[in-house]
């Protein structure tokens, strides 16, 4: 299929590069298109969970885009939603089984949120809006870009929440030991972890602030109301 594309345009033409870079900044799926927040925020307490979730979504969105793009001329438009759902669900089952086999602890922590990748609006949105109308190679790039854009926000939120909520990053203590009686580092001078950061509502507020910063830097994105 790539040979087919090579004849018309180079593999990494400007247009194709845009497919990857655009969702990372001015067309971010989470902060601009408001998609995929459902399963995104609940697993941002720890960076490791957020990374595993981002990789899972990346895999599902790239493979889903590729498969639907290959099938796009065979899928009758009346039943396309259910076909897309089945493709995504099969891919998510693969991810779930792999996680359960190789990372059982993380898989237990992610609980139902791996399954909820199926109804992640980013994936359905990209399948419907892009993969149904484009060739396989651009579809893969589009999946890659959107998956990375989603992962970037997820990991950014998780870094804030884990750093200030538990004082660690990837489980490694950053500010010293916080256990009562054996404090070290910052905790000896009275620093406290902000337990509010661990609670679910803070994920929403941090995302709100990220949106605020992004729109303050790029005035074109400001909404009327």
């Amino acid at each position: 299929m790539s040979a087919d594309n090579n004849t018309s345009e180079p593999l990494f033409s400007k247009k194709n590069k845009m497919l990857i870079t655009d969702p990372l900044t001015d067309n971010n799926p989470v902060t601009i298109q408001v998609l995929g927040i459902c399963s995104a925020l609940a697993i941002t307490v720890q960076v490791s969970q957020a990374i595993v979730m981002s990789l899972s979504v990346l895999f599902v969105i790239i493979m889903g885009n590729l498969i639907v793009s290959l099938l796009r001329n065979l899928i009758p438009s009346r039943i396309r939603i259910i076909v897309q759902l089945l493709v995504v669900a099969s891919l998510v089952i693969i991810v779930d089984q792999v996680l359960a086999a190789f990372l059982p602890d993380l898989s237990a922590k992610l609980s139902v949120f791996v399954g909820l990748i199926i109804t992640n609006c980013i994936i359905m949105g990209r399948l419907e809006a892009f993969a149904m109308a484009n060739k396989p190679w651009p579809s893969i790039l589009d999946g890659l870009g959107n998956g990375l854009g989603y992962g970037a926000i997820l990991i950014l939120v998780a870094v804030f929440r884990e750093l200030f909520g538990s004082g660690t990053l990837m489980g490694i203590p950053i500010f010293g030991n916080s256990l009562p009686g054996e404090e070290s580092g910052l905790y000896t001078i009275g620093y406290q972890n902000n337990n509010l950061m661990i609670l679910p509502p803070m994920a929403l507020i941090i995302t709100g602030v990220i949106i605020w910063v992004q729109r303050a830097r790029n005035k074109a994105l400001i909404e009327e109301h």
Partner: protein, 230 residues
């Protein structure tokens, strides 16, 4: 054991789909600009959750779970079809939404007029599939408990979307900083509402006293928090 009432009230407040688990956020943010449409979508979610979760409960307990097929024949008693649950749940949700849409259109045209455009959207609403997956994970002991959970979650979702829609209608008259307008302020307000809803945590609702398990209120609160974090 939690009482059925306990499960019901917990699903509405302390384990609210939106504020504790962020399920169904996409439609929550997209369809909450006016109270009227929010009520329509909220009602449709209650309706679909109430129908799909019990069906998925039967599917889980009589087909998919390990040993669930034992009622057909002894030789099937060891099968575990749990890995199929995602694909089965989403198929059930999508087809029930289709069926409900057709039935409502035929027998209750007025209701169809009110819910019509929202029903197809709901097949991909995370809260519906989330309801089914939580039901499977928590292993409710009876179908009654599972139904109580599904109605409670639906009502919780309804309350959340109607409340945010009412706030957004008022927000239109306030002078929000430019970059925060629209999406940003909605996120922050939802976060503040979530903090308010967290005050329902740790309350023991049911009639049955928790003394049997010897579980003081404080540990209840701890486990609740852990649930929410994970």
């Amino acid at each position: 054991m939690e009482s059925t009432l306990d499960i019901f009230v917990k699903a509405i407040f302390s384990e609210n789909m939106i504020f504790a688990y962020f399920l169904g956020m996409c439609s929550y943010l997209a369809v909450s600009k006016t109270v009227k449409t929010a009520v329509g979508l909220g009602a449709a979610v209650i309706f679909v959750l109430t129908v799909t979760v019990p069906v998925n409960y039967l599917l889980e307990n009589y087909v998919l779970k390990e040993g669930a097929l034992g009622w057909i024949d002894e030789q099937y008693a060891e099968l575990d079809l749990g890995f199929l649950s995602f694909i089965m749940f989403i198929a059930v949700v999508a087809s029930i939404v289709q069926l409900v849409e057709m039935l409502v259109e035929k027998f209750a045209p007025a209701l169809y007029g009110a819910l019509g455009i929202f029903l197809p959207l709901i097949a991909v609403n995370c809260s519906i599939l989330g309801g089914a997956l939580f039901m499977a994970e928590r292993q409710y002991s009876t179908i009654l408990d599972a139904t109580a959970f599904s109605i409670g979650s639906g009502i919780g979702w309804f309350i959340a979307i109607v409340a945010i829609a009412a706030i957004r209608e008022k927000l239109r008259y306030s002078n929000v900083p430019g970059p925060l307008r629209g999406l940003g302020i909605t996120f922050i307000v939802t976060g503040l509402m979530g903090i308010a809803f967290m005050s329902f945590m740790g309350i023991k609702y049911g009639k049955e006293a928790p003394t049997e398990e010897g579980e003081p209120i404080t540990t209840m609160l701890d486990t609740n928090q852990e649930n929410n974090i994970n």
